[in-house]
C-alpha cells in the first residue's frame, strides 16, 4: 500500500529535480516535443540520428547511426522536401523520408518521394557516359569518358555558333526541376534553343489564366478557402498536389466545401461534396452557367468588377455605340451570358440541372474565399481547352476572389526566384522551330511538332539535347519521333541526358547519366500556398562528407559510377565551348572570386544565398553558419508570408515621373522601375508609344500596382486575342471541343488519355520497383452500358482505333467513368526492343517494325514483362502487366491559339481480333501527316494577323526573350 502522502512526496522530488536541472542551465520540460509517433527526428539530432533496425534473420534489432541530409524530391514539380538517411558507416543513402523543415510539404510526401531510393539503387541505372556503336537505334553502346563527351559537344556547338547556326542547337526539357539555370546557360551561348514539354502539358491551363491576369499560373490558398473548385484530380496528381492536398484536407476539416469537376471517378472526386462528371470538353459551359447565375442574381462582387476589370477598354473597343459606363457594361455583361442557362449547360455537359444549380449556389456563397484550380485535365484535353481555365477564373474574377485570403493567387507572388550570378543578355535571333509563325499566341514552344517541322524541311538540328525527357514515349505520334531521331541528316548529334534508360535514349548518340534527387543541385520554389520559400536539391553524399570535414568540388566524386549532375556538366561544357573567351561566352561561367577558373557550384549557390534570398543570411548568422551551410543543413528556407491584394498597392509619386495615363487608366512613367527582389516569371507589358514603361493603373484617382497585363487590369476582354486574329474568343467563352458530340461519328466515343496514376513518374516510374508494384497497368475504362452494347466483358482484350491506327488493351468495365466515354491512363506501356542488353526494367520486350509509313510495335508473345533475372527481387515481381503505350497512336492536335496538344481522342472501341496481344500498336504515319496538316490549317499565322510587325505579343511570357530586332517578322514575310 502506498504511504498516505505519496503524491506530496513525489511532487517534492520532482520539484527538487526541476531545481537541479535548471541549476545546470538545462530546460526542465521543453514542452510537448511532438516527437511522437507521427513526427520527425528533431533537427538537432540530424548529425547522429539513432534508429533501431532489424538484423536480418536474427529476430533482433541493432542501433544504426544516420546522418540526415535534406534534399528535394525530383519526381514531380511539387519539389517536396526529402530527408536522406545517410548511413554514417558507409555514407550510403539507406532511405528517404519527408523533411519537416520544408515549408511546402511539411515533412509529408507521396509514395514517389520515398521511392527515390529505388531509383538510386536501380540495377539498370546508367552509371557511365555511353556512346552509340553502330547505327542509331541499334542499341549498341560503348563506354566513353566525360572528357570525350564534353570535347565532342563543345566543338560542335562552338562551330555552330561561329558559323551563325545558333538555331541548330536545341535543349529539350521534360522535368525542369530548377529555376532558371539552364536558361541562363543558353543565354550565355546566345542561343534561343530552349524547348520545353509544356505544350503537351499545361499550356492551355496557363493561357486561360495569363489572358486574365498576366501571370500564367494559379496559386492556391486552399487552407483558408471556403469553397474549393478543382477541375482535376488534384488531391492525387498535378502540379504541387502533395502540398496542396494536405491544405485542401485542412480546409475540408474546417468545413470548406469541395467541388470536383472530372469526367472520371478519382480518389479526389470521392472526397468531394459535389462530384460533377461532365461530357468531356463541356466544362466551360458549366462555368459560364455558374457565371450567369452570379450575374443574374447580382451575387457578384460589383465593386471589385468595377475597379479591376478592363470593362472600359472593352466597351470602347467593342461597343462604341454605347456609353462606356460601368452600368452600361453590367447590362452588356448580362446579355453576353444570357444564353448560358443551367438548362443549356446541362444539355452540353449531360450533368443534371439540379447539380449545376447546387454547385452555382455553393460558389455564390464563397464570397472572396473561392479557390479554383485547373492545370492540365480538361484544359489539356480539348480544342479551346484554354477557355476551361479562362471561364473558371471568370468565377474568381466575378467574386473578387483573387489574391486575398482563401482565394486564387497569382503564382508570381508566391513563387520566389532570386537573382543569379550568371546573367547574360537575351539571344539575338528567334528560333522558328520552337516559336513558328503559325502560333503567335502559342504559350510555349511547339515542341511536339518538331518531327513534322523537320520533315517539312523547316530546318535541321546540329546538336540536340533531350534532358529528363522521353518524347518518343511521352509525346503524341511517337513513331514520328523515332523516324526523326533515326535520321542523321535531320539531327546531327543527339545527347540524351537522363538518369534512366528510356525509349528516346535508344536513338541517341550519347547517353549521359544524370543524377536523381539525391545526386544533383537545383534551387527551386513552387507556389504551394501563401508563403515564399526556396528549397535546395543537393547531392546528399557530398553534403554528408562535407559535414565530416571533406572538401568535394565535383559531384562525380561522390555519385555512383560516373553519374554527374547537370549544372556542373553545363558549366564545364560552356567553359570548353569558349576556352579562350574569344566568343564572349566563357566569362559568364568564370569564378567571381578566382578569375581564370571556372565557377564552382559552391560559389554559384553561395552567391545566391548571400545576395538573393531575403532573411536567409540572418537565419544563417543566428546559427553561426554561412547561408550555404544553412541550406545544406536544412534544405529549405521560408522567406515569409505573401501580402494580400498586392494589385491594390499604391505607386509612390517618385515612381511616376513624366506620368502618362491612357484613356482606360493605364499609367506609364519614365521613372526607372524599382529593383525587383523576386524574379519569378512575370510578364512585361509593353511601353507606350513614347517609350514610357507601364507603372500601374489609375483607379478612382489613385495609381495602384495592378496586374502585369497590357491594360494593367484583369482582362475580361483580351485586346491581345482581339488584335492577333482571334476577336471572337477574346472574352471568356465556350469553344466546342474537337471531340464534341456534334463532331463525332455515331460509332465514335471520346477517349480520355490525360489522367495520371498517382504513384507513377512518367518515364522514371518503371525504375522504381515499389511504384511498379503499386501501379503497373492501364486498362481502358468503359461504362457497363457501353461494354454491354459492344459485347465487351471485364478484362477482355479490345482494339481502340484512333486517327492513326489502333492499340490493343484490356477493358475495365466500371461505373467510375460516365457512359459514352472511355479512358486510359498515362504512364504505362513502357517498352524496349528485343535484343537490347538490359533486362531489368519493368517494361515489355517488343519488336518494332515498319513497312514504309506503317509502323508496328508488338510485345514478344509468351514473354513476361522484363523483370530482374536474379537476386531477391527476381522472386518478388509477381505482376505481369505493363499496360499499353497509347500515345503512339495519337495524331498531333495543336490548339491554334495556345499551341497546346489537345489530348482527347475520338475513337472506336471493339473486341480485339484473334492474335491481338495487349500492348500491340499499329500506326500509319501518312495519316499522322494528314492530321498535322488539318490542325495546322486552323491557325492564323503572325504574318497575316500581327498588328505591329512582330512575331508574337511582346508581353507574353517566354523562357528566353530574343532582342527586339529578332522579334520582328522576317523580311521574307513582312514585305
Amino acid at each position: 500500500m502506498k504511504p498516505k502522502n505519496w503524491i506530496a512526496a513525489l511532487n517534492a522530488r520532482v520539484s527538487a529535480f526541476k531545481s537541479e536541472t535548471e541549476s545546470q542551465g538545462k530546460t526542465f520540460y521543453p514542452g510537448a516535443s511532438r516527437i511522437d509517433l507521427a513526427s520527425f527526428p528533431p533537427k538537432e539530432h540530424w548529425d547522429d540520428w539513432i534508429a533501431l533496425e532489424p538484423v536480418a534473420g536474427t529476430g533482433k534489432r541493432q542501433e544504426k547511426h544516420y546522418m540526415l541530409v535534406p534534399t528535394t524530391c525530383f519526381n514531380c514539380e511539387s519539389a517536396c522536401g526529402l530527408l536522406a538517411y545517410v548511413d554514417r558507416e558507409t555514407l550510403e543513402v539507406r532511405k528517404f523520408e519527408g523533411n519537416p523543415e520544408h515549408a511546402g510539404s511539411r515533412g509529408r510526401n507521396c509514395a514517389k518521394g520515398p521511392a527515390t531510393i529505388n531509383q538510386v539503387t536501380d540495377p539498370d541505372r546508367i552509371l557511365y557516359p555511353l556512346k552509340r556503336a553502330g547505327a542509331r537505334g541499334e542499341g549498341q553502346w560503348t563506354r566513353v569518358s566525360w572528357d570525350e563527351v564534353l570535347d565532342t559537344l563543345a566543338e560542335r556547338i562552338r562551330k555552330a555558333i561561329v558559323e551563325k547556326r545558333h538555331r541548330e542547337i536545341m535543349y529539350h526539357v521534360g522535368r525542369p526541376g530548377e529555376d532558371g539555370f539552364t536558361e541562363d546557360i543558353l543565354k550565355a551561348w546566345g542561343v534561343d534553343g530552349h524547348n520545353s514539354h509544356t505544350n503537351i502539358c499545361s499550356s492551355s491551363g496557363r493561357a486561360g489564366i495569363q489572358y486574365w491576369m498576366g501571370y500564367d499560373r494559379p496559386s492556391n490558398d486552399f487552407a483558408n478557402a471556403e469553397v474549393i473548385l478543382l477541375t482535376s484530380s488534384h488531391l492525387e496528381a498535378g502540379h504541387y498536389f502533395n502540398p496542396h492536398a494536405q491544405r485542401i484536407m485542412e480546409a475540408k476539416k474546417r468545413g470548406a466545401r469541395l467541388i470536383v469537376v472530372d469526367v472520371r471517378m478519382s480518389n479526389t472526386s470521392t472526397h468531394a461534396d459535389h462530384w460533377v462528371s461532365p461530357y468531356p470538353g463541356s466544362e466551360p459551359a458549366i462555368f459560364l452557367a455558374v457565371a450567369r447565375h452570379l450575374i443574374e442574381m447580382k451575387r457578384y462582387n460589383r465593386e471589385f468588377v468595377r475597379r479591376w476589370w478592363n470593362w472600359h477598354e472593352y466597351m470602347t473597343a467593342e461597343r462604341p455605340d454605347e456609353p462606356a459606363t460601368f452600368e452600361a457594361f453590367e447590362k452588356v455583361l448580362g446579355e453576353l451570358y444570357a444564353d448560358y442557362t443551367f438548362e443549356y449547360a446541362a444539355a452540353e455537359s449531360q450533368v443534371p440541372v439540379a447539380q449545376i444549380e447546387a454547385v452555382a449556389e455553393t460558389i455564390a456563397g464563397a464570397g472572396t474565399k473561392l479557390c479554383t484550380q485547373n492545370w492540365r485535365s480538361a484544359a489539356a484535353g480539348n480544342l479551346g481547352g484554354w477557355q476551361v481555365s479562362r471561364t473558371l477564373f471568370l468565377l474568381n474574377a466575378l467574386l473578387g476572389a483573387i489574391g486575398v485570403e482563401g482565394s486564387t493567387y497569382p503564382n508570381g507572388w508566391t513563387k520566389f526566384v532570386g537573382k543569379r550570378p550568371i546573367n547574360a543578355g537575351h539571344p539575338e535571333h528567334w528560333n522558328d522551330l520552337t516559336f513558328p509563325l503559325e502560333y503567335p499566341l502559342g504559350m510555349n514552344e511547339m515542341s511536339f511538332l518538331l518531327p513534322h517541322f523537320l520533315k517539312e524541311g523547316r530546318g535541321t538540328l546540329d546538336t540536340y539535347f533531350t534532358r529528363v525527357y522521353n518524347p518518343v514515349w511521352t509525346n503524341p505520334g511517337g513513331f514520328d519521333w523515332v523516324e526523326m531521331l533515326s535520321d542523321e541528316s535531320k539531327i546531327g548529334l543527339h545527347a540524351a541526358l537522363t538518369p534512366t534508360w528510356n525509349e528516346t535514349a535508344y536513338f541517341a548518340d550519347f547517353v549521359l547519366p544524370m543524377g536523381h534527387s539525391s545526386e544533383r543541385h537545383d534551387l527551386v520554389s513552387t507556389e504551394t500556398h501563401n508563403e515564399n520559400w526556396v528549397t535546395f536539391r543537393q547531392p546528399v553524399a557530398r553534403a554528408a562528407r562535407e559535414r565530416l570535414g571533406e572538401t568535394i568540388t565535383d559531384t562525380r566524386e561522390v555519385n555512383p559510377g560516373e553519374v554527374w549532375e547537370e549544372n556542373e556538366f553545363w558549366l564545364e561544357l560552356t567553359w570548353r565551348i569558349d576556352p579562350d573567351g574569344s566568343l564572349g561566352i566563357r566569362q559568364h561561367v568564370e569564378s567571381m572570386s578566382t578569375p581564370g577558373e571556372r565557377l564552382s557550384l559552391d560559389e554559384y549557390y553561395g552567391w545566391i544565398f548571400d545576395h538573393s534570398i531575403p532573411g536567409l543570411p540572418d537565419k544563417a548568422e543566428a546559427e553561426g553558419v554561412t547561408p550555404l551551410a544553412y541550406m545544406r543543413r536544412y534544405g529549405n528556407v521560408s522567406i515569409g508570408a505573401v501580402g494580400e491584394a498586392l494589385y491594390e498597392n499604391e505607386i509612390p509619386p517618385e515612381q511616376l515621373e513624366d506620368e502618362h495615363v491612357d484613356p482606360h487608366g493605364r499609367v506609364y512613367t519614365r521613372a526607372a522601375a524599382p529593383p525587383q527582389v523576386n524574379g519569378a516569371p512575370t510578364p512585361n507589358p509593353e511601353p507606350d508609344a513614347e517609350g514610357r514603361r507601364p507603372a500601374g493603373v489609375a483607379i478612382d484617382g489613385t495609381v495602384r500596382a495592378g496586374f502585369p497585363t497590357p491594360s494593367g487590369r484583369l482582362e475580361f476582354y483580351s485586346s491581345t486575342l482581339a488584335q492577333w486574329g482571334w476577336p471572337e474568343v477574346a472574352l471568356p467563352t465556350y469553344i466546342k471541343s474537337h471531340i464534341h458530340r456534334d463532331k463525332l461519328a455515331a460509332d465514335q466515343m471520346p477517349l480520355i488519355p490525360t489522367f495520371r496514376l498517382p504513384t507513377q513518374i512518367h518515364t522514371r516510374g518503371a525504375n522504381a520497383k515499389w511504384l511498379s508494384e503499386l501501379a503497373h497497368n492501364n486498362p481502358v475504362w468503359i461504362h457497363p452500358q457501353d461494354a454491354e452494347h459492344k459485347g465487351i466483358a471485364d478484362g477482355q482484350r479490345i482494339r481502340v482505333e484512333t486517327e492513326l491506327g489502333f492499340f490493343v488493351a484490356e477493358a475495365w468495365v466500371t461505373q467510375g467513368i460516365r457512359p459514352g466515354v472511355v479512358a486510359c491512363s498515362h504512364h504505362m506501356g513502357r517498352w524496349q526492343f528485343t535484343g537490347s542488353t538490359d533486362h531489368h526494367q519493368r517494361t515489355m520486350e517488343t519488336t518494332l517494325a515498319h513497312d514504309g509509313g506503317h509502323w508496328s510495335l508488338r510485345p514478344v508473345e509468351h514473354k513476361q514483362p522484363l523483370a530482374p533475372q536474379s537476386g531477391p527481387d527476381a522472386k518478388r515481381v509477381w505482376w505481369t502487366a505493363v499496360g499499353v503505350h497509347q500515345n503512339l497512336t495519337f495524331g498531333v492536335h495543336p490548339d491554334p491559339v495556345s499551341g497546346q496538344h489537345c489530348w482527347h481522342q475520338a475513337v472506336r472501341v471493339r473486341p480485339a481480333e484473334p492474335g491481338d496481344v495487349p500492348g500491340q500498336i499499329h500506326v500509319d504515319l501518312e495519316k499522322s501527316d494528314a492530321v498535322y496538316r488539318e490542325w495546322l490549317a486552323m491557325t492564323r499565322p503572325a504574318d497575316r494577323v500581327s498588328p505591329d510587325g512582330t512575331r508574337r505579343p511582346g508581353w507574353l511570357l517566354r523562357p528566353l526573350k530574343p532582342t527586339a530586332e529578332a522579334c520582328k517578322l522576317p523580311d521574307s514575310v513582312s514585305s
Binding site: K2, K4, N5, L10, N11, R13, K26, Y29, S33
Partner: protein, 299 residues
Amino acid sequence: MSATASADLLRLLAAIAESPSSAHADYARALGLAAPATAADWQVAHTMAFIEQCPPFASTMLGEGGQIGGAAAARVADFRALLGAEVETAPPDVLPALLADYAELVERAASDARAAHARAAMLWEHLLSWVMPYLDAVNRSAPAPYDGWATLMRDVLLAETQAVAPPDLLPLQLRMAPPALDLAHAESVDAAVRALLVPAASGIVLTRVDLTRAVIALEAGLIQNSRAFALGQLVTQDAPATLDWLAAEARDQAIARMAEIESLGVVGQFWADRAHATAEALDDLARVASARRVSSGAH
C-alpha cells in the same frame, strides 16, 4: 482532501512517454521508475509500449474503428484548439500532449476560474474518458519503465478525481462512442473480431501481449500479424476455446473496471457495463460454438 499531482509531476509523466532522449534516464530517476540501461534499451521499451502494444491516442480507445484519427480525435483537436494549443503538426489526441495541456491547466486553475473549468473538462472529457482501461493495458503489456509509469499515471489520475469530482452526465466522447458490441449478429468471424478490437464498443483492450497469453493458454500457434488477423486465426483454429478465453479475459477486465466506479462514477460504469456485456456475449457464443462442435462430432 488528499494531495494531487503538481503540474511539474504531470509534465514529467508526459515527457517520459515521449520518444526517448538523453534526459529520459533522469526523468525515470525523479519519478522513481526503473530505467533501461542504454539508449537502445529505452528505444526498445518505448517502441514496445507505444507502437507495438498500446498506441497512445484517445481515438484508438474511443473511436468508431479503434483506429487513429476520426471524429474522436477531432473532438480532442477542437478542445485543445480552444485552449490555444497548437494541434496542427501531430495527431492531436496523443497522450503526452494531452497531459502537457492538462498540466498547464492544473497550474493555472488555482488563480483562473476559466482554467479550472477547462481542467475539469479536459480531465473527464479527454483523459479519464479512456485512459484507465488504456493504462491497465500498458501495465499488462509494456516493459519497464512503462509498466510502472502506467501504474503511477493511474494513481495520479485517480487522485485527481478527488479534486475534480466526476460529472453527472456521461462525457461527450463516451456519448458519441460507437454502440455496444452486438456479437450475436456479427456478419462474420472477421467482423466480430474487428468489433472486439474497438475498445469503446467492447469495453476491453486486447494487446498483442494479451493475444500471446491467449496463444500460450490455448496451446495454439503464434501468429505474427495484425491483431485482427491473429485473433481471427485463433477463432478459426479453435472457436470454443478461444471464445472461452476471451470471455474470461473480458470478465477480468470488467472486474477491474467495476473497481473504478467509485472514483470514476458514470465513466467507470460505462466501461464496466460494456466489458461485462462483452463477457456475457462471448460466453453465449462459446456455448453455441461448443454445441456445434459436439453436434458435428469434431474434436
